[in-house]
């Protein structure tokens, strides 16, 4: 991570400021706030719509359906192996839109800063946001900054909301899930959660386990170009992991779900860490993985294509939708047994995103 931040810092050095921590005055709406915005935020995130500095951004959207999504990010720690809260906040909302079959176009950005946050940390987060937005091809067009007293927040919380154009061939909805559909996961699971947990628990591995946070929009849009309406559902298994998403599918589609443990891709070290921590990878959060439920007839082609796309290399068909045992997720285990996979109860890993 620190290498990534160093490269970004070099490309976008922090200006000299007459303050090095955030104070309550930076949320005042007055001079200090304008100073904070002028001295950095607007320059870093520069684009024609943001530059208007109005209470909102004004633009025209192309004709057709659009998608709208929101997420607040409260991850702790704010900097973790493989990323930080800033890029997580951009990628997370870009990915939520992608799960609607939409190409993210515009994002809003709302900061809740805790008094005492260092300007260097804020700057590092800001340049990560800029970089993530460029990578995903979205513009940050409107924003808001609030400051709360020390002890009433936790360094920084970020909300991003996003709007995007829905792919003309996308028809992604629970009602489209049907028996026989194949379930495909786009990459190794449980990596993000374990990256966060390993910092919190002070675990060391031979190689650092890094968060999988990334933008999935380009990959998803390329798949929709080719397979369109044959893609029935897309979901990103963040909080609650793969198990919770599949349980939601089983519950809402009123169908059964079967998955095959040996087909589910998990990086060996992540698997080892899960064993060590007593966690089931199926419940651990992901940030750079999606689940696709597709027409059985195209499943192999979909997988083949996905494997050639960005972040899709480790993709696998992990199961199918069935008529049997409606509302239940059943896993065929490594050793040939069958067990029910329930929805996550309680909280394994608070503040994972």
């Amino acid at each position: 991570m620190s290498e990534k931040i160093n490269i970004l810092r070099a490309s976008c050095p922090m200006p000299t400021l007459d303050f090095d921590v955030i104070t309550l005055g930076h949320g005042s709406g007055g001079l200090l706030m304008n100073k904070l915005l002028d001295s950095g935020v607007f320059d870093v995130l520069k684009n024609d719509l943001l530059d208007e500095r109005h209470d909102g951004a004004i633009f025209e959207m192309p004709a057709g359906k659009m998608a709208f999504s929101t997420d607040s990010y409260v991850v702790s720690p704010v900097f973790f192996p493989g990323g930080n809260i800033g890029e997580l906040a951009v990628n997370g909302t870009v990915n939520d839109l992608a799960m609607c079959g939409a190409a993210a176009k515009y994002l809003s950005l709302g900061f809740i800063l805790e008094e005492g946050l260092t300007m260097q940390a804020f700057w590092d987060i800001l340049i990560s946001i800029k970089h993530a937005a460029e990578k995903a091809g979205v513009k940050i067009v409107t924003g808001d900054t609030k400051v709360v007293e020390r002890g009433k927040g936790d360094q920084i919380f970020i909300n991003t909301s996003g709007i995007g154009s829905v792919h003309p061939r996308a028809d992604i909805a629970m009602r489209r899930v049907k028996p026989g559909d194949k379930i495909i996961v786009s990459g190794n699971i449980a990596t993000h959660g374990i990256a966060i947990m390993s910092v919190r628990e002070g675990l060391e591995f031979e190689t650092t386990i890094e968060s999988d946070t990334c933008n999935l929009n380009h990959t998803v849009l390329a798949l929709l170009d080719e397979f369109g309406e044959q893609v029935h559902l897309l979901r990103d298994p963040t909080r609650g992991g793969v198990a919770s998403v599949l349980n939601e599918v089983a519950r809402d589609a009123k169908l059964g779900v079967e998955i095959h443990q040996k087909a589910i891709p998990v990086i060996e070290e992540v698997y080892g860490a899960c064993e060590l921590l007593g966690l089931d990878p199926l419940y651990v959060a992901n940030e750079g993985v999606f689940l696709a439920i597709v027409e059985a007839a195209i499943a192999d082609d979909f997988l083949k294509k996905l494997k050639t796309l960005e972040y899709g290399e480790a993709a696998a068909i992990i199961g199918e939708v069935v008529e049997a045992h409606p509302r239940q997720v059943i896993m065929h285990s490594h050793i040939g047994g069958r067990r029910v996979v329930n929805m996550l109860v309680g909280e394994q890993l608070p503040r994972i995103c």
Copy 2:
């Protein structure tokens, strides 16, 4: 306030739940979170788009320009005379869109809850959100709930982002402000800030000073129907108050601004409280007031119309844009003097919204 909440509670009673405070598990993405959402949130805020329960909402927007805005709300205390953080969060974003000349249509809703928040408080906020959204005519179509540990937040923070259709005759931009334009305020100023301060400082008045939080969209849209492009700029003077907005206008339009103290409407008790607290009403936050900068020729008609509209009764022409003293705001005082009104420096009233 409590009377308003009692009416809302009666119309939408809290269901019986097996938990009475929010725990970390309610932000898990798993069973507890689903329980929280099922047992209340989705029922209270019910609409066809939200009911899809996807990662985002999908809809078509009418052709033409649209506006997009975001705000996070961290007001303390969460319940205050005249309202609570829930209705503030709806009205604030609806009003930001109105300031762009847009009719708010869809809102997102992001909660950051502190572990230990009572379910009753959450419910009261939720029904206030429902009520405020109905009053403003907006739909809450997508949302997110996060929970942070006790001591890492402050009961509840809310982000709302909103999208709306820009009025076909609206052309609201800083570049349109020109010398001679009249400055109109839509109502009594400084009320929201003083309502919050009076609770914080334990001040008592003969009658309670209540926040002016309200939705300004219907009023603004009616004015745009009649005066369209002759309205040059709209701004709501929230944090930083009227003084900060007028300073932004002077700075960004590179023109002078003159205002007349005796023309500025302030409720007598609010004025008294300001004196007592050593606050200048020009810097105190508003939540139900906007500033309009309009073509001089229509100023009187605009005012006359505004006075007939919802929340416009106390409206007044308070000043004008001039060529003299560019980037400066000058106030003609009660006693005939002239003084420079600067932008707010530092922070008078943290966490006012």
